[in-house]
């Protein structure tokens, strides 16, 4: 075993005052969940205000670090070598060997930083720093010391054992999953909505999701694509409850009764209404969309306002100020991009007008929605009661409720 432990660094939780233990316990819990799918035995420990994953058996380094780097709340993961307490002479050799392994080229500036929590160790921290710095320089002359801005910070922690670590694998940051309540994500097959879900979930928020399906205008593969996207996001957020709504009847009804250039905006208003009803039914405290100002006709400031007015729950739009390229960058980072660009039509693009309104007026839209009053209430109720609910994990999928409109 090259590393016996991983030091887990968490930036923000550290400053949460009296709630600190709540956040820390949530983080420990999430780390345990992430490690459950890894081969090997592990223990998660908190000591001296630090969090460690101790490896109790052989394990796959790549697998463990990949899983840990999906846990929100983790800022960095430091692979740690644990060695028994030893006199300084032997420690000099151990640290030199560790540095030689980690940085074979030796062309770096470094600094040794010792924390001596075990006061029985005969040398003080500063003395240990000097000894070990000297040891490395003597054995490997290509290293140079830089105490102000070293490329390598060689950490030595002396406790019941001696812990060595120097490099840090970045984590996703944020807050541990679940400490911030739950929201309902409007998930399409596009690039934006999975990223929006990720951004909100990063702040410790759980996700449910709703997908508006439009058979026969969209295919089974379009639904599969949305499930695949949810599964990618679930690597970070944990299992996502996906509500698959059959939106076709509502869409066709709007098409028949309302002006064509307002179709998209009216459709979106009904999507928001349905999402809100589902959100309230499922204890979600807000809605999440992938909208960004001006990206398409339905996302101008006026259109966003007109869409927004049908909801009472807050609507979170974490991408509101993002350019497309910035959204793409995040989607590549979280692994949703490749799936998002698969060319299956989603329900928003089917009947879209060649020249949709960009500056809809709420009172006009409201007036036109009156054309729908005969049937729309029943249709919305029907769409909600016939939803299919699928629990989507990173590698699993379970139908919680089947579609009821299927004979």
């Amino acid at each position: 075993m090259k590393y016996q432990s991983f030091l887990i660094k968490y930036a923000e939780i550290g400053i949460k005052g009296k709630n600190r233990h709540v956040f820390e316990e949530a983080l420990v819990h999430q780390i345990r969940i992430a490690l459950r799918t890894c081969g090997g035995r592990f223990a998660v420990n908190r000591t001296y205000g630090r969090m460690f994953v101790d490896c109790l058996s052989e394990y796959d380094f790549e697998e463990v670090t990949e899983k840990l780097s999906c846990v929100f709340g983790i800022w960095g993961i430091c692979p740690v070598r644990a060695i028994d307490i030893m006199p300084i002479g032997e420690l000099r050799e151990a640290v030199t060997a560790f540095m030689a392994e980690e940085y074979p080229s030796g062309d770096h500036t470094f600094k040794v930083k010792t924390r001596r929590l075990n006061k029985e160790y005969p040398l003080e921290s500063l003395e240990v720093n000097a000894e070990l710095g000297n040891a490395v320089l003597t054995a490997m002359p290509r290293f140079t010391v830089d105490v102000h801005e070293p490329e390598i910070m060689m950490h030595v922690e002396i406790r019941e054992k001696i812990y060595l670590y120097s490099h840090e694998i970045p984590g996703p940051g944020g807050l541990p999953c679940g400490v911030g309540g739950k929201t309902m994500l409007l998930l399409s097959g596009g690039i934006d909505s999975p990223v929006a879900g990720y951004m909100v979930a990063k702040r410790g928020v759980r996700l449910d999701a709703v997908y508006f399906n439009a058979p026969p205008y969209t295919s089974e593969r379009a639904l599969q694509k949305v499930k695949d996207l949810a599964a990618r996001v679930a690597r970070y957020t944990g299992p996502i409850c996906l509500h698959n709504i059959n939106f076709t009847p509502i869409q066709l009804y709007i098409y028949e009764k309302c002006p064509h250039d307002e179709l998209t905006i009216i459709m979106r208003r009904y999507m928001m209404r349905i999402a809100e009803i589902l959100a309230k039914k499922n204890d979600c405290l807000g809605l999440v969309t992938g909208e960004s100002i001006g990206q398409v006709a339905s996302q101008t400031l006026t259109a966003l306002g007109v869409t927004n007015e049908v909801c009472t729950l807050p609507v979170f739009r974490p991408l509101i100020g993002f350019d497309k390229e910035e959204i793409v960058q995040v989607s590549k980072k979280i692994g949703t991009f490749e799936t998002s660009i698969l060319p299956y039509e989603d329900c928003c693009t089917i009947f879209v007008a060649k020249h949709p309104v960009t500056k809809p007026r709420a009172e006009v839209i409201r007036a036109h929605e009156k054309n729908l009053s005969e049937k729309i209430g029943d249709m919305v109720a029907e769409a909600i009661s016939t939803d299919e609910i699928i629990l989507i994990g990173a590698d699993s999928e379970k139908i919680l409720k089947r579609r009821e409109d299927e004979a």
Binding site: Y217, S219, H260, V352, A407
Partner: protein
């Protein structure tokens, strides 16, 4: 759920139950490697050579002319790339048509990158290439001509015998390849009578499983093998023999040849019924020829005012499975080269479905499918993008 009506047999077919049973027995009992020296190997080798004998008999060729591959695509690649590379010193010119399967067209494009030049011949509105245009295109430095037997999208049949004569008349050394993946089992194909040197076929289009293909190589034709290794199949296609696949292909093909004329008549009757019924729907058109001079099992239908994918999914809801354009190309929005080549506009290609039949279908199937279309099309036409 509605009764399943599978009309996508040019994409793939259901395996005959007796073929599946036979394969299962081979997998569980005669599972030896034909290259092994012991009894298990000999037993498997016998099954393999029996399969080659059966298929050779159906094509009226020698078993030694046949090579088993993994699929029609591999057969096409091997015939075209392997044939062209082996003949390279005689010339670097190739001839094909604009409506070939991607397995042929991509092989041609690969060879273009290797320094070959390719003439792509046009087709008429029925998707047929004229023997005269082939005669004109073949040059002294032409090494290979590839023209498909049956087009996979509109079912047009090519006049292979005349094309074969045209090729040999102009350049006796040029190889003549035909992709008969859609034609094998639907037409009695005898490569030696057609002047064909190389012929590709595939198992899963004739009720055998996916993973087995066939390549006929005429006597004295040299091919650069594409899969190299242990020297199986006379060194022409290495890799452990797919005994169960080969046996299954032979068994299913044999079964199709048992009542051949009767089965083909039945397919033609189903095709005629479907066309008659579907043409009752306003504005619906059939692409290509529809009589005895077309494939008995492929029908290309254009439904103006409805997107093919939408109709496909709506039919799927009624248990009817068919494809939009050509299945191999319909994973992504892609304009069919064949439909373009026969002169369809982009509206037309986006509204074209393919119905493809097999001996496992009945007249009731096609009547129900046509009825479902008649029911759905007027509804779908009400909702189009404006």
């Amino acid at each position: 759920m509605a009764r399943e009506i599978y009309l996508d047999n040019s994409a793939t077919t259901r395996v005959f139950p007796e073929t599946a049973d036979y394969m299962r027995r081979i997998c569980l009992e005669a599972y030896g490697n034909p290259s092994s020296m012991h009894h298990k190997g000999v037993e498997a080798e016998k099954i393999l050579s029996e399969a080659a004998r059966t298929l050779a008999g159906l094509l009226k060729v020698k078993p030694a002319n046949l090579v088993f591959t993994s699929c029609g695509t591999e057969s096409d690649n091997t015939a075209i790339i392997g044939g062209a590379l082996a003949a390279r010193r005689r010339g670097t010119h190739l001839v094909t048509t604009r409506i070939e399967h991607p397995a042929v067209l991509e092989s041609m494009r690969f060879l273009e990158k290797q320094g070959f030049t390719v003439t792509y011949l046009p087709v008429d509105r029925d998707g047929i290439v004229s023997p005269e245009s082939v005669h004109e295109a073949v040059r002294p430095d032409t090494v290979l001509v590839s023209v498909m037997h049956t087009n996979n999208e509109i079912g047009s049949l090519q006049p292979l015998a005349e094309i074969g004569r045209a090729v040999k008349d102009k350049n006796p050394a040029a190889l003549f390849h035909t992709d008969a993946v859609q034609g094998f089992g639907k037409d009695r194909i005898f490569p030696r009578q057609l002047g064909v040197d190389l012929l590709s076929a595939s198992g899963h289009k004739i009720h055998a499983p996916k993973g087995i293909g066939l390549l006929y190589i005429a006597d004295k034709v040299r091919i650069q093998p594409m899969v190299l290794g242990g020297g199986q199949q006379r060194g022409l296609r290495s890799g452990t023999d797919n005994v169960a696949g080969a046996a299954a292909m032979a068994m299913s093909a044999g079964r199709l040849y048992q009542n051949f004329d009767e089965d083909i008549r039945a397919l033609r009757a189903m095709k005629a019924v479907f066309i008659e019924e579907v043409l009752k729907i306003p504005e619906v058109r059939i692409n290509g020829r529809t009589g005895e001079d077309s494939a008995p099992h492929i029908i290309s239908v254009t439904v103006p005012g409805v997107r093919a994918e939408v109709l496909l999914h709506a039919l799927e809801d009624r248990g009817v499975y068919l494809s939009a354009g050509s299945a191999c190309a319909s994973n992504r929005p892609h304009v069919s080269e064949t439909l373009k080549a026969i002169g369809l506009s982009s509206d037309g290609t986006g509204s074209t479905l393919r119905v493809s039949l097999s001996v496992m279908n009945t007249e009731e199937d096609v009547r129900e499918a046509a009825a479902a279309m008649a029911d759905l099309i007027p509804f779908l036409r009400r909702y189009t993008r404006r």
